[in-house]
């Protein structure tokens, strides 16, 4: 099963699950330095600003979570749990099991919590961490800009997950894209609207 959409802080820092705190720090410092140098070498447009801000927030959050054993374990446990719940709900949906609805609700609530905690809240919290501030020069202005950006990032991850899930709110649609193209053509020819 794909785990795409469940933010993976090990992957962000190019580490595996067994990485030691020392490796976490080393990779974070190297990657942040590279990022800061890249930012300094290019002309900043609005699009690039958003991209770099998000990259910085991701590195900060990865370091903030993984360098602390307790936080790291809690994060990895939460991630595994929500992936397991997805798997369980999927199976229940495929077999139309009687607890399908309950499983969906459980998974949905957990997914919301996971993304809210580890994408929005934690990324902003990492920006207040002294070590992160020192390495990334993150300040209040970054945080202000990042809050909307992080919400958008959270939703993009949510979308990625949603797209591979069984339809729940509506019955599975039978979309014929040739018919869709004809409908679009007829709407455009009608005028009005």
């Amino acid at each position: 099963m794909s785990d795409e959409g469940y933010v993976d802080y090990f992957k962000i820092l190019h580490l595996d699950e067994a990485a030691k705190p020392g490796e976490v720090r080393k990779n974070y410092k190297r990657m942040m330095k590279e990022l800061v140098m890249e930012i300094a070498s290019v002309q900043i447009t609005e699009e690039r600003r958003q991209h770099y801000l998000l990259e910085m927030a991701k590195l900060n959050a990865a370091f903030y979570v993984l360098r602390d054993n307790e936080r790291r374990e809690a994060y990895w446990e939460d991630r595994k749990t929500v992936i397991r719940l997805e798997e369980e709900w999927r199976k229940a949906a495929e077999t139309n099991a009687p607890d399908n609805d309950a499983r969906h609700r459980r998974f949905d609530a957990r997914l919301r919590d996971f993304l809210s905690d580890y994408v929005e809240d934690l990324m902003l919290a990492a920006g207040r961490d002294a070590e992160c501030v020192e390495a990334s020069h993150w300040d209040a202005a970054h945080a202000r800009h990042a809050s909307r950006l992080l919400r958008q990032y959270r939703q993009s991850l949510n979308q990625k997950i949603l797209e591979r899930l069984p339809y729940y709110e509506v019955t599975t649609p039978a979309i014929d894209w040739r018919e869709r193209a004809q409908t679009v053509a007829s709407i455009l020819s009608e005028g009005g609207g």
Binding site: Q155, L162, Y167, V170, P173, R180, S189, G193
Partner: protein, 361 residues
């Protein structure tokens, strides 16, 4: 458990009435009413105390005229399709969140687009997970229309495609993006134009064109799709876009020309006075009263103690394109909105704003 009627009898729902209500929501492209009919408090549910025959739910049912419409009858036919009907009944009887019939939602979304209810359509397509691809389809066919020089079709395609946008950063949940010309107008005029480049209306044609398209399409990425088209093509597109965004544009043009004349008169008087006296500030203050009429002329009515930004927001609401051709200007002790255009600009001319251009877009 069935709800009881006031006479103590268990409530019974006639599915034909439910079907009419669903068909009406589909016909009107109304995703809110459609979802409401499946909600726990829906009058279509037997376990809900709400009832179709009360006046407060009359709006859910079609009137005599609608019932005669062919498109409505097609919607009713779709609702009464054997499989859809069986599914709908089952979902209305189940004690859990209903799973909505996607064939009806697709029909509803298409009808919503036809009626210009883009947020409703966006929400319905999003539920079916085809919103982004539908947007691409509209863009693709609009681009083809643009290449074939079919401007009304191209503009309609772009307006629909951008109208189907979703705001994934909305709080607390993603929502269809909505036109926000009032905010965007303020952003366009956020900085006082102390040099001409800062004034939107005084920019070179290319730059003004890009700003105008991004502002009127409410989407910079959509405007960027047009970047490689020749200026004449974009100009024709812009003229059509202005017409679609502001059907009352000709009325604004009339007022704009009047405001231009007032501004010209004020400027001429000030110039004359400057050559005759050194007390320029005093003279400007004396003459300023004339200039203070300009924002009201542009808007078509005065706002009591109206600041420039209040006029700007009102203008952005009533005539979205109008804010592209004004600028903030300090006159005497006040900051006002004044008309601005480049006499050599093909854009102002094509939109009928210049004194020697044909009236209206």
């Amino acid at each position: 458990m069935r709800a009881k009627r006031s006479d103590g009898q268990p409530k019974q729902v006639d599915f034909d009435v439910t079907a009419q209500a669903l068909a009406k929501a589909v016909y009107e492209g109304d995703v809110v009413n459609f979802r409401m009919l499946f909600s726990p408090f829906s009058p279509a549910r037997e376990d809900s105390p709400e009832r179709f025959d009360t006046p407060k739910y009359a709006y859910l049912l079609p009137d005599g005229e609608m019932v005669e419409q062919r498109q409505y009858q097609q919607c009713l036919f779709a609702v009464n399709d054997i499989e859809t009907k069986a599914h709908t009944r089952k979902e209305l009887e189940a004690n859990r969140p209903a799973q909505l019939p996607s064939d009806l939602i697709l029909l509803l979304a298409d009808n919503a687009v036809r009626r210009g209810k883009y947020t409703s359509a966006a929400e319905a397509y999003e539920m079916l997970r085809i919103r982004a691809r539908m947007q691409q389809e509209f863009f693709a066919q609009a681009d083809a229309a643009l290449d074939a020089n079919e401007m009304p079709k191209a503009v309609r395609g772009y307006l629909i495609a951008t109208g189907l946008a979703f705001d994934y950063a909305a709080f607390p949940e993603p929502l269809p993006a909505v036109p926000n010309f009032q905010t965007r107008a303020l952003m366009l005029h956020a900085e006082y134009p102390d040099v001409p480049e800062k004034c939107v209306a005084m920019r070179e044609s290319e730059s003004l064109m890009q700003t105008a398209l991004a502002y009127l399409l409410l989407d910079a990425a959509a405007a960027a799709r047009l970047e490689d088209k020749p200026l004449e093509t974009r100009l024709a597109f812009l003229v059509e876009l202005v017409k679609r965004r502001d059907p009352q544009w000709a009325k604004f043009v009339e007022r704009y020309r009047l405001a231009c004349a007032t501004w010209q008169e004020f400027s001429d008087q000030l110039e004359r006075a400057k050559t005759e006296s050194t007390l320029v500030e005093d003279i400007e203050n004396l003459l300023a009263e004339d200039a203070y009429r300009i924002p009201a002329q542009l808007l078509g009515r005065a706002i009591e103690s109206g600041e420039w930004w209040q006029y700007l927001k009102e203008m952005a609401y009533e005539h979205p394109p109008s804010v592209l051709f004004v600028a903030r200007q300090v006159v005497g002790q006040e900051e006002i909105l004044a008309p601005r255009y480049r006499p050599d600009s093909p854009i102002g001319k094509a939109l009928g704003l210049l004194p020697d251009s044909p009236e209206g877009a």
